[in-house]
């Protein structure tokens, strides 16, 4: 119903504008009906250019004020997160400086040099010095960004095996996630989709003969001990998926037929993150918004009260229910983790006999 109302309002606005232009046009009939811009048009549009410049700045400021607390620019929960956020902030600052200046010059010149009859423009075709200036400056700035970016990238992507990372398999299928731990030996048993046996509940296609698989643990909620490096091995059984863990600044595609990997070290437990003032503000805001949509949310069978949790979401279009392919991530202390994993069934015990 709201949609319809809005639609009608927009339609009315459009019609009103339409009529105004018609009047505008009719008023011009007496004057020379030339469709080429006159001085009056130049002046009008020159002022509009300044107005538009103000609009660009206003929407920038408004976006920061109203949406600026949305971005995950701070409060990352992984070891490499702050480094990446830092690079992001540096890039953003550069972008906003360049954006502010160039948009100003563009629109200000468009206003300042709006056409007047009888004036002649400056014949100014070339200036090698200027060209060199705005070639060299971007080169220097970009060289800095490229070097910083590549160091960060190498840091993130090179997994240091000597740190003995915990190996976790993320397994994607339309439309849910599973996680598999290597167990006591921290080695994943061999697996292939050809070994999937739904009758025996071997849904990940793990090789039952492989001794390494005996202590594997398969779960639907990802738990990670804080401070321990973890190396994810991603697999997909059907189509492309992407394992996106925004809070950890981590993402990697899951590709059928190959194993991809991504490693990071979680640094903040779920509990700690829930106590973070920024996150508490965010959650309070979300809960206030949810209260406004109470009926709708309860009808959908969701909890009205939202509590912060880390998430793994699918970020590569994968079919009809792509929009609901998620898994909860819990970061906890080593002791909590050990207690939790001890409760989970090992792979052989999870099979149907």
């Amino acid at each position: 119903m709201t949609t319809l109302l809005i639609f009608i309002i927009v339609l009315f606005v459009a019609v009103a504008m339409w009529q105004m232009v018609k009047i505008f046009d009719l008023a011009q009939v007496g004057a020379s009906n030339n469709q080429v811009a006159t001085d009056k048009d130049n002046t009008f549009n020159g002022y509009m250019m300044i107005g538009f410049l103000i609009f660009i700045y206003a929407i920038t400021i408004a976006s920061f004020v109203y949406l600026g607390d949305l971005p995950l620019m701070s409060n990352s929960a992984s070891e490499h997160g702050p480094e990446l956020d830092n690079l992001m902030i540096i890039s953003m600052v550069i972008i906003f400086i360049v954006q502010t200046i160039t948009q100003f010059l563009l629109h200000y010149f468009a206003y300042k040099y709006k056409g007047e009859k009888g004036r002649k423009a400056l014949f100014y075709a070339d200036n090698n010095f200027l060209e060199a200036v705005w070639t060299v400056i971007p080169v220097i700035v970009l060289a800095g960004l490229i070097i910083y970016g590549l160091f960060t990238w190498n840091d993130i992507m090179n997994v240091d095996e000597s740190e003995d990372p915990m190996i976790v398999e993320l397994y994607a299928q339309q439309f849910n996630w599973k996680a598999r731990y290597g167990g006591d030996d921290n080695v994943l048993g061999k697996a292939n989709v050809r070994l999937i046996d739904l009758d025996r509940a071997n849904i990940l296609g793990i090789d039952e003969e492989d001794p390494n698989a005996k202590d594997d643990v398969i779960v639907t909620e990802l738990h990670l001990p804080v401070g321990r490096p973890v190396l994810f091995k991603m697999r997909s059984q059907d189509v492309l998926h992407s394992a996106y863990m925004p809070h950890f600044r981590a993402q990697m595609n899951c590709v059928p037929g190959m194993v991809t990997q991504f490693g990071f070290t979680p640094t903040v437990t779920t509990e700690e993150m829930r106590q973070n003032p920024d996150i508490q503000d965010k959650v309070a805001n979300i809960n206030a918004l949810r209260l406004e949509r109470k009926a709708e949310i309860e009808e959908a069978g969701q909890d009205l009260n939202y509590q912060f949790d880390y998430l793994l979401l699918c970020n590569k279009i994968c079919g009809k229910s792509h929009y609901n392919m998620q898994m909860k991530i819990v970061v906890e202390t080593q002791e909590e983790f050990d207690a939790w994993i001890a409760e989970q069934k090992t792979f052989p015990n999870s099979l149907n006999k």
Binding site: I6, D41, V98, H107, Y113, K120, L130, P138, Q251, P256
Partner: protein, 597 residues
């Protein structure tokens, strides 16, 4: 039709002259000007479909799973009781992307203006091969028809995203849209590519061989440089997409395993072994990235021409502009991997692609600064075409700058496939190229139809569009940085994203208003074709050769001899001349220097 008889009077010299019928003049025409108009009209119709789709899925994002009269009316069985289905949502997103990128901004933009302007601006009677040109248009038409037909198949149109990554696009059991809908999509694209290649080859040959006397490469208007280089990129990269499409067809229909391996779906193991979806991604983006520039370069060329003409100033740094077009073209073919940083390809490759990608910022920056300097101390004539060109520079800067973030492999990890990407590419290639197309239409409408568009409607169209474009895509960066993935039918399963919901409503409102105001343009366009004010021969006081041709179209473009060229096309406000423009066919005065050499 009286126009025909009229022009024939001047036309006796033309060896190609033959009696025209309705069919040869308006349907199977081999005249580049008519073909340009055919491209424009077809592209416009496809554009209306594409924009309408975007408004529908924006409504779904803003008001998820709410009944909507528009859905009920247009989507039929895909919107039971007016609620949009999740499958058709993905299909709308997919077809919107396909139509806008290929059918509107490649064929509609390049097809229209390359055809119209290449012969007219270089001083040629027509394209090198009028016949191939005609075939090119009709293949485009057939591919458009096939694409539209695909919207009506039983299991739904293609819905795997416009990038159609397999296995999703390869397996009919993975998604309804990967059945007949995807087959038709692939067939349509294969025909489209054939059309594009024929067109591009024609443009290249024409520019190289048919320039009039005196029209050296360094005297070419920047429009022609842009069209020429665009055609070269197209010829290099489109065949790769064709091969990807053909291999995908073979995987789909003949059981090969180019892109597929180890798949278990719907309770059974498929036989595919040894292929890789990553290979498809490489092939796709080998076209897909140059495609961005195939879309953008013509728009930049058009803008260069219009900004210079309406500033009454030479374009600043002509040689740097040509060099940056060439640099962009070269770099565009070696950056495709930045779409694949997290696809599972070797991280070292990611480093290489980061390096090449950020290099593209340099020629792009040169272009932006040169446009701004061209405005400096000009005498700006604020015609609608000029407004759209300035608007293009604005969105090109805003959208281009965020490319610095996305091109950086480390930063891409966290914003890849979020709305940040959507905002970035819509501004830098979608809106910018669309502005270029609008600018071109407003500027060359008198050349195409011999009549003027209404400028006040043009102003209204520009200002509302400009505000709505920023209103839609600027806040979108922020919800992307909040981690909201693109292509989600609804975000209501993620309370985490609840605080983006209001921003999404605002964005949709801007999109609806912006969409509706395109009707102002359509009205202006179609009414002016018939009732617009009659155009003068050179309404914008421009230097390029097309304005030396008579207003009424004729075969061969010029009665009598083709004009010779004595200077570049940017002698605006040149000292020593009374007028503030000196057309290219005006000989040099005694002692006058050609300054830009």
């Amino acid at each position: 039709m009286s126009a025909t008889a009229d022009t024939h009077a001047h036309d006796d010299h033309d060896v190609h002259h033959h009696k025209e019928t309705f069919v040869t003049k308006y349907i199977f025409s081999q005249d580049h000007k008519m073909i340009a108009k055919q491209y424009l009209i077809t592209g416009t119709i496809m554009g209306v479909i594409g924009v309408l789709m975007s408004i529908m899925f924006r409504m779904q994002i803003a008001w998820p799973e709410q009944p909507n009269v528009l859905f009920e009316a247009l989507l039929g069985k895909w919107a039971p009781e007016g609620v949009m289905d999740a499958d058709i949502y993905l299909a709308l997103v997919t077809i919107h992307g396909t139509i806008m990128v290929f059918f509107v901004l490649t064929a509609g933009l390049s097809g229209t203006f390359s055809n119209l302007l290449i012969p007219l601006q270089i001083g040629a009677r027509d394209m090198a091969s009028g016949f191939l040109n005609m075939i090119s248009y009709w293949l485009f038409f057939v591919s458009s028809v096939v694409m539209v037909i695909s919207l009506f198949v039983e299991a739904g149109p293609a819905a795997a995203g416009w990038t159609i990554y397999p296995p999703l696009s390869a397996l009919p059991m993975a998604q309804g849209g990967s059945g007949m809908g995807m087959t038709l999509w692939l067939v349509s694209m294969a025909i489209f590519i054939a059309s594009s290649l024929l067109g591009s080859l024609n443009y290249i040959v024409t520019v190289i061989n048919l320039r009039t006397k005196g029209m050296s490469m360094t005297r070419l208007p920047l429009t022609i440089w842009a069209f020429f280089v665009t055609a070269v990129i197209g010829v290099i990269s489109f065949p790769v997409l064709l091969s990807a499409a053909l291999l995908l067809i073979m995987d789909r229909s003949f059981g090969t395993s180019f892109f597929l391996s180890d798949i278990f779906i719907q309770g059974e193991v498929l036989h595919y072994q040894g292929g890789s979806p990553v290979l498809f991604e490489h092939l796709f983006w080998f076209l897909g990235h140059p495609e961005v520039y195939i879309v953008l370069l013509p728009a930049l060329g058009i803008t260069s021409e219009i900004i210079a003409t309406n500033s009454r100033k030479p374009i600043f740094g002509y040689r740097a502009m040509v060099a940056s077009i060439l640099a962009i073209a070269f770099l565009s073919t070696i950056v495709w991997g930045h779409h694949m940083f997290i696809s599972g390809m070797n991280p070292f490759l990611g480093s290489v692609f980061t390096f090449t990608t950020l290099l593209i910022a340099i020629p792009s920056a040169v272009k932006a600064f040169n446009y701004i300097t061209t405005l400096w101390k000009g005498n700006l004539q604020m015609n609608p075409a000029m407004l759209f060109s300035i608007g293009l520079v604005s969105t090109f800067i805003t959208g281009g700058l965020t490319g610095i973030i996305l091109g950086d492999s480390a930063l891409d990890i966290n914003v890849h496939d979020t709305y940040f990407v959507v905002a970035h590419f819509h501004l830098v290639m979608g809106i910018s190229a669309l502005y270029g197309m609008f600018a071109g239409i407003y500027h060359w409408f008198p050349k195409m139809y011999g009549r003027m568009l209404n400028k006040n409607l043009g102003y209204l169209h520009f200002w509302v569009t400009a505000i709505c474009a920023y209103g839609v895509f600027f806040p979108m960066h922020f919800i992307g940085m909040a981690g909201l993935p693109r292509r989600y039918y609804t975000n209501s399963n993620f309370p985490l994203f609840d605080d983006t919901a209001n921003a999404n409503v605002v964005i949709t409102m801007f999109a609806i208003v912006g969409g509706i105001f395109q009707l102002v343009f359509l009205y202006n366009f179609f009414v002016s074709i018939f009732y617009g004010k009659k155009a003068e021969q050179n309404p914008w006081k421009s230097n390029t050769l097309e304005w030396t041709a008579p207003v009424k179209h004729m075969h061969g473009n010029w009665p009598g001899e083709i004009p010779h060229v004595y200077r570049w096309s940017y002698d605006y406000s040149k000292p020593g001349h009374d007028e503030d423009f000196v057309p290219q066919n005006v000989p040099m005065k005694d002692g006058e220097e050609e300054l830009h050499h």
